[in-house]
Amino acid sequence: MRDAGRFACGVREFRTMNLLAIETSTEACSIALVHGQQVFARSELAPRRHAELALPMADALLAEAGLGRHALDAIAVGRGPGAFTGVRLGVALAQGMALALDRPVVPVSSLAALALEALEDEAAILAVIDARMGEIYAACYRRDGNGGLVVLDDERVCRPDALVLPEADVWNVVGSGWASYADVLRGHLTGGLRQADGDRYPQARHVAELAVREYQAGRAVAPEQALPVYLRDKVALTLAEQGRATP
C-alpha cells in the first residue's frame, strides 16, 4: 500500500497543476478540470444519469484543455454528504482513476463546495442539502477573503427544526434544504437574510478550487483512503434491535 504522506512532497505550482474534480452527490452531475490558471467545467442537472455522463464529460474537458489522462496530477471528489448512491459513484470513479494513474485523491466536503455557491461577501453561509426522510445535511461557513472557507459549524445531519446555528449579523443560505424547509430554517437565523437560494447544488468547479488548496497543503490521500462521508450512519436495525423495537 502506498504511503499517503508521499504525496505531500513534490507539490507542483498552482500554475502548472492539472486536477480533475468529480461531484455527483446531489442532483447535479459535474466535472471540472483545473489546468494551471484555467478551469474547465461541465455541469448538468440530470437525476439518475450521473453514471452515464461522468466519464464522457471528463473526456470532453481533457480534449478542451488539450491534455491526456496521464497529465493529471490528482483527482478530487465531492465525498458527500449527499445521496448515498451519488456519493459512492463519485468516490468510486475517483478511486478507480487515481489507482490506475498512480495519483492521489483529494476528498472535499460537498457541503463546503455548495457553500462556494453563495455570494462573495462577508456574510455567514448556511449550506444545506435535503437529506430526505425529514432531515437535512447542514454546515456553516464564512469566506476567508482568499477564495477559501472558514468553518463556523461542522457538517451534520439533523431534523430541520433541531438545527442550531451560530450567531451572525447576516446570512447567505444555499442548497436544496432551503427549497424544502425554508420556513423552518428561517426561524433559526439570528441575523438578516441576504441570499436564499434553494436551487443551488455542489459543483465540481468549487470542489476543484477547494481541492487545489488542500493538495498544496499536503492533504491529498492514497485512493483507497478517499471514502464517502454519509453523516447518516444508522441505516438498518440489527436483529437484536428489531427484537427490542417490537415487544
Binding site: M1, A51, A94, A100, P228, A236
Partner: protein
Amino acid sequence: MHISQLSNLPSKPVLGVESSCDETGVAILRWVPEAPGSGLLAHALYSQVKLHADYGGVVPELASRDHVRKLLPLVREALAQAGMTPADLGGVAYTAGPGLVGALLVGAAAARAMAWALDVPAIGVHHMEGHLLAPLLEADPPKPPFVALLVSGGHSMLVEVAAIGRYRILGDTLDDAAGEAFDKTAKLMGLPYPGGPALAKLAEQGRAGAFRFSRPMTDRPGLDFSFSGLKTQVLLAWQQSDQSEQTRADVARGFEEAIVDTLVIKCRRALEATGTGRLVIAGGVGANKRLRETLAAAGQQDGFRTYFPRLQFCTDNGAMIALAGAIRLAAGQGQDEAVRVAPRWDLQGLQPV
C-alpha cells in the same frame, strides 16, 4: 488478420471485479483459450457475511458501503499477487448485473474508471454467465455444447449452452431459488444466517430415511423448479417433532435429499432433452457435497460427464468475471464510457461471442 494469428498474440491480462451482492471479488486473468485456468494470475475476495449476519440478511445499503471500502485494497492485493502494476493490464471486466443496483454500481464505476484512466477496453459481464463459465477455470475444461445447472442464492436454472454467449433457459424456478430455499429453511429451523452451508453441515449428521419430503414438480414433465412448498413442509415437520438435536439433523438431511434428488432428476431430463453428454454445475449450491456426489454418480450411471468449479469459485468471485470478460474482450467486444448496471438482465439476450 486471420483468427489463428490473433490467438497467437499473447493477450494482456484482464482485471475482473465482482460486487453484485455481499462479496467483493477481484482477479487478474490472461486469456489462454486451451487452458483458461492456467491464465489465472491472481484472485482476492472479501466476504461481507459477518457484517450482514447481525441483520439476518443482506442489507443493500451496508453492502454498497462495504464494497467501496474494500474494493481498492483487493485490487492492490491482486496486483501484488500477480506482480503487476495497473499499467500491465490490457482490459477491465466488471459485473454489470443482475444484482443489487447500489452494490453493482460501486464495482462498475471503479472498474470503468480504471479502464478509462489506463485507456484500455472495458466490459460489463453478466453475473450468471460468470458463474456458468467458472468450471472452465479447472483442468480439462468443458467445451460447448453443454447443459449448465445454475444454482445460487438468487437463481435456479437449467441452461443450454450452445456456445459461449449463446444461452437458452430450459428451466427456471417459479418461486424460491435453490440457495434461497436452503437459507430460508435454515432460518425456520433456527440456524444463523447464512443458513445454507450450516444446514448442509447439519445434514451430514442426519439419518437417512428419518424424514422424507416431496420432490417438487418431478411428477410431471418439464424442467422448471419450485422450492417454496418444500420449506413449508419442513417447517411443519420440525414444529411437530420433538425438536431434539438429532431430529434437527434428520430434518436437514431429509430436506437436502429432497432438493438434491429434484435437481438430479431435472438435470437428467435436460441432458436427455438436449442430447448433450456434458453437465456443468455452478453457483453457490454447487458447493453442496451431496449434490456433487449424487450428480457425479448419476453421470457414471447414465454416461454423462460432470464439471464442477472448485469450491471457492462456486460462490461469487472475481475470477469468473475476469474469465467471462477476457473471453468477450478477446472477441473484440467492449463498452463505451457510460457506466451502466442492470439489476435485472436476461441471460438469453447476451451477445454471442
